[in-house]
């Protein structure tokens, strides 16, 4: 599923860039993320708790900054995670783009989230909504953090 989000951050582009490319710091803006620890250059391990009503997913996996182009204000992040208890995997790729808006910066996130296994059978609209919620909160939190 493909999602797109936009948030206006009341901070100059350079500050926003610094935050979004600092994976552990940025990850603190994703609700449900537990410790994110480095596991190599641009690579991290982390875990995310997602609650879908009574269903609790614990997604453990890797996050990597796969591309950065500061001049263009573009970065890509890839996350591969697995819930070994319920049996299911999530792969998300996020393309971030920062656009100057005067004093402020517009943050555009387009993400492609793919869910496999039993959790994918839970109901696509519900999952889509949850992913959408997470990304919205992420974008809002980034904006808040820098404001």
């Amino acid at each position: 599923m493909k999602l797109s989000h936009t948030a206006l951050v009341r901070a100059p582009r350079s500050r926003v860039w610094k935050l979004v490319t600092d994976v552990p710091a940025a990850a603190r803006c994703v609700p449900g993320v537990a410790a994110v620890t480095p596991s190599g250059t641009g690579k991290y391990k982390g875990s995310l708790l997602v609650q879908l009503g009574p269903v609790r997913l614990v997604l453990d996996g890797d996050v990597a900054l796969t591309a950065t182009d500061e001049a263009a204000g573009k970065a890509s992040v890839r996350a591969d995670a697995k819930d070994s208890r319920l049996g299911g995997t999530v792969r998300a790729t996020m393309d971030l783009a920062l656009v100057d808006k005067g004093e402020d910066t517009e943050l555009r996130i387009t993400s492609d989230v793919r869910i496999a296994g039993r959790i994918g059978e839970f109901g696509q609209p519900v999952i889509q909504r949850k992913a959408d919620q997470l990304m919205t909160q992420f974008a809002e939190c980034l904006a808040r953090t820098l404001a």
Binding site: L52, P54, V55, L86, R118, F122, P125, V126, Q128
Partner: protein, 286 residues
């Protein structure tokens, strides 16, 4: 992998078990939703607490003031209850339109509400009837208006230390008309593409004295259509006024795409069926 199954006989025992097992416990009544999620491997609690033996949670009682439906009353018991039919025939029909007789024989109202599926039939009707739920915890009981119960898809405002024990439906003011319309464009056994519940009462002058409209399947939770209600309050509800009010439902809903229709179609249908529901109440007044 399995779980320990407990069948307390009182609410206090149930609360005690919940306190003991915390997040590792899951409450069931009819256990329809739970069995599905368990079978799919999506729920793995260590302890399942069955509520069906708790006598105080069953049954349906009616007084002049209210109708009280126990949390473990099945949909079928409610559908067949003379008290419910006397209280509000539309409520009887609402329960009769849930899934199939097999499911209605097993699934309970408490389970239905706690599961918080936004496409379910009873919630919008109960919202339109001004119902509230009773939640018990070690600290005592509190009531939650249905309007405040649903938080998100499959998520309610019940705390993890609370048991939903009953649903209270206040007596309808004399002259109140009620309806529930379920739009099923595919098969007869389906979740609604949209559903609309409405109640309306008129003054002697034919003005709207009281109106409540709620919709199902139009977003992450069942939702009150306050914009529609506001547009009708005090009005003489002729066809034009109703059409105008129904069109405002758009502001109250946030449907999403699924196999039962695109978000855009659901918006359109929410308007159509809101209008139909309101018209039927106005016509039913005669």
């Amino acid at each position: 992998m399995t779980y320990d199954y407990h069948e307390p006989e009182t609410v206090a025992e149930a609360l005690d078990l919940m306190a003991r097992h915390g997040e590792d416990a899951h409450l069931v009544a009819g256990a329809t939703a739970f069995t599905l999620l368990w079978r799919q491997g999506l729920l793995r609690p260590g302890h399942v607490i069955g509520l069906r033996r708790i006598v105080g949670l069953g049954g349906i009682t009616a007084t002049d003031k209210e109708l009280v439906i126990g949390a473990t009353a099945t949909h079928r018991e409610i559908e067949r209850s003379a008290d419910v039919a006397r209280h509000c025939p539309a409520l009887t029909r609402t329960f009769a339109s849930v899934a199939t007789v097999r499911i209605r024989n097993q699934a309970t109202l408490g389970g239905n509400l706690a599961h918080a599926d936004p496409a379910q039939d009873p919630p919008p009707m109960l919202m339109a009837l001004g119902a509230e739920v009773v939640a018990a915890s070690a600290a005592g009981e509190r009531t939650i208006a249905l309007d405040d119960l649903f938080v998100d898809v499959f998520t309610t405002s019940l705390r993890s230390d609370e048991v939903l024990t009953a649903i209270r439906v206040p007596a309808l003011a004399p002259g109140t008309h009620a309806t529930y319309l379920k739009f099923l464009p595919q098969t007869a056994d389906d979740y609604a593409t949209v559903s609309v519940a409405a109640t309306m009462r008129f003054t002697d002058d034919g003005e709207v004295a009281d109106v409540r409209v709620a919709l199902g399947a139009c977003g992450p939770t069942p939702v009150r259509a306050r914009s529609v209600e506001d547009a009708l309050a005090g009005a003489v509800p002729d066809a034009a006024r109703i059409a105008d009010a129904a069109a405002r439902v758009d502001a109250d809903i946030a449907p999403f795409d699924d196999v039962r229709g695109s978000a855009g179609y659901k918006r359109d249908m929410a308007r159509v069926w809101t209008e139909r529901a309101l018209l039927s109440l106005v016509e039913g007044r005669a």
